[in-house]
């Protein structure tokens, strides 16, 4: 049974349709990607799953329970964590406080310190910056903090929105390696990326979005066989025919 099931959701910003009848599913332990060019509706899809946007049609089920139309805080409590585009770490809070809030839904003091130690092991730079304000971190450090903060809630499903955006090539390598490591540890991940080629190298399955609809879905091999992947990256979606 799938952990997350999105059926035919459509979302509008005012009168403009952002996504139309998007369906997707993520199974336990999978690493699934939403790929596509800018404006294809990837971020809208993630924000809708997270409860920040309300679909005007369609349904979203998580662990068998209906979650569309629920408040974002409700959805987080059910085990979905979003690392938003632009990271959205709290600039005036220290790194430690950012992580503390990440564990807000856990409320488990005993495990809290162990989780912090684990995050420091995973992201050593955060250990050095614990007392620093989040706003003073570099872009790459902020991205690591945003992911660590999401992991502090022990999510069943981790959603990452463009984690490599705006980072230097070395950091992009690190982020992709990290996503692979988290996946290997059994974390279920829904990843949004513009870096199509690299994403297809690490995921189990992917959905290619184009102008608000799912165009192709399946395994990386399947997608590569149908679509000129480099073309997608450059905004040209002509099929290999």
């Amino acid at each position: 049974m799938s952990m997350l099931e999105v059926r035919d959701i459509s979302v509008r910003y005012g009168a403009i349709a952002a996504i139309r009848e998007v369906s997707l599913e993520v199974r336990q332990g999978e690493l699934v990607a939403l790929i596509g060019v800018n404006g294809a509706g990837k971020t809208t899809t993630l924000s809708t799953i997270a409860g920040a946007l309300k679909p005007y049609q369609g349904s979203i089920f998580f662990d068998g329970a209906q979650v569309h139309g629920r408040h974002p805080e409700d959805i987080t409590r059910r085990g979905i964590a979003l690392v938003p585009e632009g990271r959205d770490i709290f600039p005036s809070l220290s790194v430690a406080e950012n992580l503390r809030l990440g564990a807000f839904v856990r409320n488990n003091r005993a495990e809290f310190q162990r989780d912090i130690d684990e995050m420091v092991a995973l992201f050593p730079i955060l250990g050095e910056r614990m007392r620093q304000a989040g706003g003073t971190l570099s872009g790459g450090e902020q991205q690591q903090l945003a992911i660590a903060r999401a992991l502090m809630s022990h999510p069943q499903l981790l959603m990452l929105d463009e984690p490599s955006l705006g980072l230097s090539p070395v950091l992009v390598d690190q982020i992709f390696a990290l996503v692979g490591r988290l996946h290997a540890r059994g974390v279920t991940i829904l990843l949004v990326e513009q870096n199509v080629e690299r994403t297809l190298d690490i995921v189990d399955r992917a959905y290619l979005l184009h102008t608000g609809s799912v165009e192709v879905e399946g395994t990386p091999e399947h997608i590569r066989s149908l679509v000129d992947v480099e073309g997608v990256y450059l905004g040209d979606r002509r099929s290999k025919a």
Binding site: A50, A52, H71, P72, E73, T76, R77, L82, P84, D88, F90, P91, S92, L93, E97, N98, R100, L101, G102, F104, V105, A133, G135, T136, L137, S138, G139, Q142, R149, S153, G166
Partner: protein, 297 residues
């Protein structure tokens, strides 16, 4: 002439203003709402004291605690009844709602009590003086300073050491993301309004303490003070509100002694000139919020 009495008076005024500004900014930071009904919370606190004074003789301290409690409850209820239903709409809807709440509360006081000033019970210490380093200083001013310091320290502990406090600060940084981490929006907002009402209630004790009376329109002046203090200090941080409050109180007192007698009635105009200069040359206020220092890349 800067005497000890003057310094204590100025710092006491600044302390009161700092608490006032903090009460306004704690709500503004999260909802981006300038609550124009904020002054009415002071009025409610003042009238609570008046009503309690009519009843059986209670120790003043008990009455003061009850009056502050009524201000907290009023603030909480205005959020539940008036602001929460329109929160999902535009910010303008909230702003207009705050005017409506302000007008309603004022008119309620006019109708139920009286347009005329009512005397509030005050403890004797409010009119007594103490000798500090050989100078006579009103105890009321020392109490205002002491109370502010205690409350500011309590708030620092709440905001830095408790999860709820960290969540409140996070909500001022980015309310949407705070909810995304599972922090209930209603909880954070209710707590912010309760703290706002608490600070307004405490300030009300000192505010009505100066004239020993309360009127339905008594909230207008403290609302303006809170607003101006936050403009001076910066609306983006709680520290800014505190700095703004102290700067306003101290500068206002200084203007009072520095201006020649003939110009004293224009004291407020001089204060506003300073505010305009700040808006022109440092529109973000004296304290820049951490958000402004955010690094990109």
């Amino acid at each position: 002439m800067i005497t000890l009495d003057f310094a204590i008076n100025a710092i006491s005024l600044g302390s009161t203003y700092a608490l006032l500004a903090l009460g306004m900014v704690i709500v503004y930071g999260i909802l981006k709402l300038v609550n124009f009904a904020y002054g009415e919370l002071l009025m409610i606190g003042g009238y609570s004291l008046f009503v309690l004074g009519l009843g059986p003789r209670l120790p003043w301290f008990v009455m003061a605690v009850l009056a502050v409690g009524v201000a907290v409850l009023t603030s909480y209820l205005t959020e539940r009844v008036a602001f929460r239903p329109v929160r999902e709409n535009s910010l303008t809807a909230m702003l207009i709602t705050s005017f409506a709440v302000s007008t309603l509360l004022q008119n309620a006081a006019l109708l139920i009590i009286s347009p005329r000033a009512r005397a509030v019970p005050l403890p004797d210490v409010f009119s007594e003086s103490a000798l500090v380093l050989g100078q006579s200083v009103p105890i009321r001013n020392l109490l205002a300073i002491g109370t502010s310091i205690v409350l500011l320290l309590l708030l620092v502990v709440l905001l830095r050491r408790t999860v709820l406090g960290i969540a409140l600060r996070a909500a001022s940084d980015n309310f949407r993301m705070t909810r995304m981490l599972g922090v209930p929006a209603n909880l954070v907002i209710s707590v912010a309004f309760a703290i706002s009402g608490f600070l307004a209630g405490v300030v009300a004790l000192f505010w009505v303490g100066r004239t020993a009376s309360v009127t339905p329109t008594i909230g207008a002046a403290p609302l303006l003070v809170a607003f101006v203090a936050t403009v001076i200090g910066g609306m983006r941080s709680l520290e800014g509100a505190v700095v703004g409050g102290y700067v306003y109180g101290i500068v206002f007192s200084l203007i009072g002694v520095l201006l020649p007698q003939a110009l004293l009635e224009f004291r407020e105009a001089f204060m506003f000139v300073i505010v305009i200069l700040i808006l022109l040359f440092r529109p973000e206020g004296l304290v820049r919020g951490a958000g402004a220092a955010r690094k990109v890349g």
